[in-house]
Every structure is written in C-alpha cells, then in structure tokens.
Amino acid sequence: MTEAKLSDICVVAMADLFRDNGEIMVSPMAPTPAVGARIAKKLYAPELVLTDGFNKILADATPYGVANPDQVIEGWIPFRKVFDVLWWGKRHVVMGATQIDRYGNQNISCIGDFEQPKVQLLGVRGAPGNTIYHTTSYWVPRHSKNVFVEAVDVVSGIGYDRAAKLHPRSRERHEIRQVISNLGVFDFQTPDNRMRIRSIHPGVSLDQVRDETGFELVVPENLATTRLPTDEEIALIAELDPKGIAAKEVAS
C-alpha cells in the first residue's frame, strides 16, 4: 500500500469527523479540515453542504485551493444567511485555536490581558455564537503546550465547564465534538467532559502527547491508534488538494 504521510492521516481523521453528520452545512476554517470535508463528501457523506468559504454552496466536492470556473453551484449563502443557519443549528464548524483548555474553551482573540493584550489576534469572531448554537470542533496543526494550556487567556469559544453553568436551554446545542491535532484525535466523552485522547496518530507516543500538552489528558485504558488512510483516500487527497496545501500545514 502507498505510504501515508502524517498530513494524510490528519485529513482522513477530519473526513471521519464529518461522517454521519446529516444534511448540514460544514464550515472547515483551514486547509486540512477543508480537504477532509471534501474527502468525506466524495466518499462517505454526499449529503454534506459545503461552501466555497465565501458565499456559494458547491454541489460537488471539487479540488481545494484552485479556481474551478465550471463547478456547479447549488446555493447562495452570504454572511447574513450564514448567521441564520448558524442560529438554526444545522452546522458543524471546525475552527482553529490559538489556545484551548481541558474543557474545550478556545481562544482566538488575543494573548495576554484582554484590556491590553501582549499579542492581538483576530478578536472573538464567531466563536461565542458558534459554540453555543451548534457543533464545533477544532484543528491544531502544531500541538504544543502553548496551545493546549491550563487556562486560556480569553474565552472566545466556550467549553463544557462554562456551558454547564448556563440554563439548560442555552446549552442544549453546545457540543465540542473533537479536537484534531498533528499528534492525535481528542474528544470530551468523559463523565465531566474533560478532554480525552480518542486516538494517537501512528508513530506518535503517549509520552510525546503528554509532553506537548499543558494539562492532564484523560487516557483511555485501551489507547487507540488513528487509522491509516486507504489507497483510495490517498489518491483522492492528491486529486482534491492538487497544490498540497493541507500537507504544508503539518510538518512531517
């Protein structure tokens, strides 16, 4: 079989994340999740609603990062409609995280003090609304203690501990489904919704994951290894990411 690159493993983990989501809009906010969503749509979940990242809904999973003048457009989704779908709840977003903690609180706003940040980043963008209205996952291409932190500086996307303090109706659609990094796949399927290792990527050790994580992860008794891509998936990654943009996100 063709040898899988780490970046291919990450793309396919993303594709698996988008399986069995139902007929909803997926919003992958970075190359690896975007290619993963295309693999999922092509092979496993044709029902997924995928946009060009701007305002058009693409009928088919077409190659990422290249102009496709002939691609079929099946819908129009300007930003005002994005908010309608978002608040309706039929959406699964994969955002980045400059910082994330054990309960899935995420920060993309700024590093340091909110009043006078050491490093100003994007602002909270849509993270508060995304996390409370529909399913959210995160993609971290460079897993480190600087990202997986004990406490985030500014809560942009809200995690399980904060959601738990809200009215039951407020949190009924809150779900941080997975965090996928270059080291492994993580979820929150623990009694107190603390982050758990779901699987470790092939070639990565548990010690390595622990060393690069700034808090204690829940480790299941039988530690799984993230599955390898199939030959069909590897071929499709080459087709759907012709410029290898996803591969560049992950150092191999």
Binding site: N55, F79, W87, V119, L122, G123, R125, P128, G129
Partner: protein
C-alpha cells in the same frame, strides 16, 4: 427626479467630532474607502467606528481620529491580522468593544428596528460578557426563564457604504456575491451615505442584473456620491478585486513610522482624484 448627488467633501464636512459612524462591507471587502479617505482629510476626530472591521480601523487609528472601535473582528482577509489595529490594541491607545459577529448583526438590527436590544445566546459564557460589563443579560419572561444576552442597539450617527451602482436618488445596487449588512448599517444610522462605482439612470439598474441586486432603497439614504475605485484597495467585485500589492504595502507601514508617514503623504493627504491617479494600474 430626486437628485441626492453630492461630493465626498460635502458629505464628510457635516461630520462632527465625537460621532459614532458605521462603515459597511466586511474585512477587506467592498469598504467605502473613498469616504474613509475623505474622513481622514476632514480631520474630524474622537470617532467611534462600528464595523466588521477592515483597513478603516487601522487607518483612522493611525491618523489619530479613532477613539473607540466596535467590531466582531478586524482583518484584511488575505492578511488575517490587521497590523495597525494590533498596534492600537497592544499599546492600549483605543477604547474597544469586541463582539461576536452575530451579536454585531443583532446590534445593527436592533438599531434599525428602533429597539433597545435584541436577545441572543451568542456571547453567553464568553469573554464578550465577562470582560465587558456594558453588555447585559435579560431573563426570558416565559416559562423557561432562560437568561439571554441583551445585545444593545448599535445606533449610528452616520453610516457609509459603497456599492457597485446607484442612481442619483440614492437607490443602491450590489452586483457582487454578498450584500453583507450594508442596508442594516443605513437603517441603523440617523444619516446614511452611499458611494458607488457608477451612477446610472434608474431605468438602467435592472438592464443586466436581477431585481434582488437592489439592496439600498433611497429612503434609507441622505446623499449619494459617484466614486469610481471608491472601495480601493479592498475588493469590489465584479468591478475589481482586492489590490493585494497595495494592501501589503499598507500593512508593512505598521513596522516603520517613516514608511507610514510616506504612505500617508502619498495616499491620504491628497485628494481622491490624486489618490486614484497614484494607484492606477497599467492594466
């Protein structure tokens, strides 16, 4: 026929220090940059700028006219982090209100609909509420008793938007793929101003475009200005894309005060006509 045509200078001369102004568009997309440049030339100061933030935030900060920024984000899209805005925040030289993008829209809607606030779950549990006590919550009066964010109206003294085409009465047409929230900006404002790539006879608006492309109605608009290239250097499809080289140059001036001074002298302390001449590409 009603004629609301004015010049950029005539429009901005009515602004006063301390006003709250809304800027349409989104990030570095279809921003009313000719108006922003006219605002720079006018010297009006202590402005509160309300926007899905793009270069207007950084520019008005660097010219010393920005007192407060109200935003969901500030980004140049192809350059995700706006370096001048980062400087403003990191040096603590502006006041700010950072909102969830959806909350921002509701603030415009509340203002447009003459409501004090609109309820939402967006923001609950996040830094937006935790660090900004001016955003308050409201309890549902119904059985559920849920506590919701009461997003306050973002009332504007004036709003500025840029569209592809308009007529001289102020009907504005967006030919690009996203109307953003420009109509809401206009309705949230006491006075709204539209600039357009081209002013055409009303009967020509629908000659080659669908009915739905007329986004701004003249009753929302006090004055309209023809400003070709009026969104430059942000994108204004289908008229033109973003001038990435120029945007890079703008962003790079954050690193070097002398470069900013030169940029300002060449591109901001000049008339709109001189600006357009300076940036015209040989294509």
């Amino acid at each position: 026929m009603i004629d609301k045509q004015k010049t950029l200078e005539e429009v901005v001369s009515t602004l006063k220090d301390g006003m709250t102004i809304g800027i349409g568009g989104w990030g570095s997309r279809r921003k009313p940059m000719a108006f922003v440049r006219a605002i720079v030339r006018s010297g009006v100061k202590d402005l509160t700028v309300v926007s899905y933030g793009g270069p207007e935030v950084g520019i008005l900060y660097r010219t010393g006219q920005l007192k407060k920024a109200i935003y969901g984000f500030v980004s140049l899209d192809s350059i995700p982090l706006e370096p001048h805005f980062r400087m403003a925040r990191q040096k603590k030289e502006i006041e700010f209100l950072e909102l969830d993008e959806g909350m921002f829209q509701l603030g415009l809607r509340a203002a447009a609909w003459n409501l004090p606030f609109l309820p939402t779950r967006a923001g609950l549990g996040s830094a937006v509420l935790e660090h900004q006590p001016e955003i308050k919550t409201v309890r549902s009066p119904y059985q559920d008793g849920e506590e919701l964010v009461a997003m306050p109206a973002l009332r504007l003294d004036a709003a500025f938007v840029h569209v592809n085409r308009a007529d001289k009465a102020g009907n504005g047409q967006v030919l690009g793929p996203d109307p953003y929230f420009d109509d809401l900006f206009c309705m949230a404002a006491d006075r709204a101003f539209v600039s357009a790539e081209e002013i055409v006879p009303t009967e020509d608006l629908l000659k080659d475009a669908p009915l739905q492309s007329i986004l701004i109605d003249r009753m929302m608009v006090e004055a309209v200005v023809e400003a070709k290239g009026g969104a430059h250097f942000t994108e204004c499809p289908p008229n033109y894309g973003r001038d990435e080289a120029f945007q890079k140059q703008y962003a790079a001036t954050a690193k070097d005060p002398a470069a900013w001074d030169a940029f300002r002298a060449r591109y901001l302390d000049v008339s709109e006509e001189e600006y357009q001449k300076a940036v015209s590409r040989n294509d």
